[in-house]
Homo-oligomer: 337 residues x 2
């Protein structure tokens, strides 16, 4: 792929990614990515009324699962393609993930970053050595800047989620989790662009078909939920949510996968997400970003649905701007530890 | 021990605790305490110019190493002594640790808590089911309340650090760390009352005599540092530091052990401690309380002393009041990841 057009043709039409691609991704990224731990908490189990297994992607390199997909894409490139570098667009963790993955491969990266990106995530992109190209904070500006860069550099586009290589890489989260913790009744992951959930769904359906698959989304950014409900891809919203990683919408490829594989998408209010994040900080002693706490938030909201089950929850990232922390509400009632 | 007088006689005069006591403690607490992980960070190694191995006692049960000593003391009691319950005094983690350990043994606990204790630590004592006895925030008031309680209840005193059973329990931190990570050039732990450092020193001198032992203390609460320097136990200060776990002073038993075993106590400024804590939050994605970040702070301050070494640092606890967070400064210059 050396142009934007080719890329669009290749990804939009292709939903044939399978568990084999996830297994290949796992082998490809193994020398670079961490096998992240799965942690438990007696207190949170008691609070949720079920058995929670937290997959700690906040402890992944550069602090989020995004490194898996970026690493798989970057190390999939032929030597000739790699030599031309990589272009991507990202307001956050994917940009930093591409920056780190390209540094490890020794090639250049250009990241289109909107003006409203989190300071800490922008700083990470710079720290890992990628070149930042600024753009206005809207999708047309982002796409125009990306297209201009691709034209200019002949570099390879690695989209944050509308890319089978990225989706396969993200699927290694579920692959690992199912090896670390078998017989899961349910697996829950946050849904933004849908790359993580799509990859996890593909891996889980193949390896553990009885496991139910739930996406978790902020009610304030419920475009994926509504897209599945209405059976059409909704892309015209600009949601406001504290979950800066979940403001995007699905792409055709992730919409197709999630429509086919998911049991549903569950929603949580902003306050519930922040209270869940606070619990993870206080009880697990783990820094998880708001986007990464949505899974716990939906379980605590829907206790009856998960009562007594063995539930895997992906804590997707831990890159928080400590200088711009919102108020952290507590849950209304916290039962004894 | 069934009275305050007996306790004082027994602990003040006894410095004969040895590595065997630490091994016995390890066996005694094994059914209850976590073997905590040791974590690494490429970024922090690069920043410090040495190889850092972080022992994650913030991931210990109830969020701090204090559970080890409390658990060892409580499960050392004879059935008859245990039946009378336990008394302690604590503004923080030791109180919660005694509360949890006594709950696990099914006996009662009374904890004397000064009025200025951290809200989150007070809440933990209540949550684990201990009875709180309030007192004014000074040592005479604390001691008077404790003596009255002992008289009233005939319960067993388990002092936060002037108790060989507690010191032996805390020593299991070093025992584990040395098993998880051999050939340490240096081991660093924070010093408040000196229980953790004393136990770790005893275990380390026996198991890894070539490992240098450094205490870490806030410069704003440098009573242990000055006590060792001046060769006399200083107990008449009321230090102000963000490290609420390190405001106490040594007891005769810990003074004797540290004077004999330590290579020295290193100091860090308040800003350096908070910057180190911020680094642990941002880079390790681990919630560590200020008292737990002093070890990293002294390593970053004294880079030449530790250059190229293999250094174990005890992250002693993770119980932070998220509603009362101070400003978190960054280090002046942060080299690339």
């Amino acid at each position: 792929m050396s142009s934007n057009t080719t890329h669009v043709a290749k990804t939009v039409g292709t939903t044939s990614i399978d568990a084999g691609a996830v297994l290949e991704a796992a082998a490809r990224i193994a020398p670079h990515a961490h096998v992240t731990p799965v942690v438990r908490s007696r207190t949170l189990d008691a609070l949720a009324g079920c058995e929670l297994h937290f997959k700690c992607e906040n402890l992944q390199r550069m602090g989020a699962f995004k490194f898996r997909g970026a690493c798989n894409a970057v190390f999939s490139l032929s030597a000739a393609d790699a030599a031309r570098g990589v272009v991507t667009q990202s307001s956050g963790n994917h940009g930093a993930a591409i920056a780190l993955a390209t540094r490890l491969r020794g090639i250049t990266a250009h990241v289109v970053v909107p003006a409203n990106a989190s300071a800490v995530k922008r700083a990470a992109i710079v720290r890992y050595g990628a070149r930042i190209v600024d753009c206005a904070p809207n999708m047309p500006a982002r796409d125009a800047a990306t297209a201009a860069l691709l034209e200019q550099t002949s570099a390879e586009l690695v989209h944050p989620f509308a890319d089978p290589r990225v989706i396969a890489g993200q699927g290694t989260v579920a692959l690992e989790l199912l090896r670390q913790c078998d017989r899961l009744d349910a697996l829950i992951a946050p849904v933004g662009g849908g790359g993580l959930m799509s990859g996890c769904a593909i891996a889980t359906r193949a390896l553990s078909p009885q496991t139910r698959l739930w996406g978790a989304e902020p009610a304030a950014a419920c475009d994926a939920h509504d897209s599945l409900q209405e059976g059409r891809l909704i892309t015209d919203r600009t949601p406001q949510t504290v979950c800066d990683g979940l403001r995007g919408h699905l792409a055709p490829i992730t919409f197709e996968i999630l429509r086919r594989e998911l049991d549903g998408i569950l929603l949580a209010a902003e306050d519930e997400i922040l209270a869940a994040m606070r619990l993870l900080w206080e009880r697990l002693k783990l820094i998880v970003e708001p986007s990464g706490a949505v899974g716990l938030a939906v379980v605590l909201r829907e206790r009856e649905r998960f009562a007594g089950q063995r539930v895997g929850i992906v804590l997707s990232g831990g890159n928080v701007d400590l200088d711009a922390l919102p108020e952290l509400p507590e849950l209304p009632r916290l039962p004894g530890a």
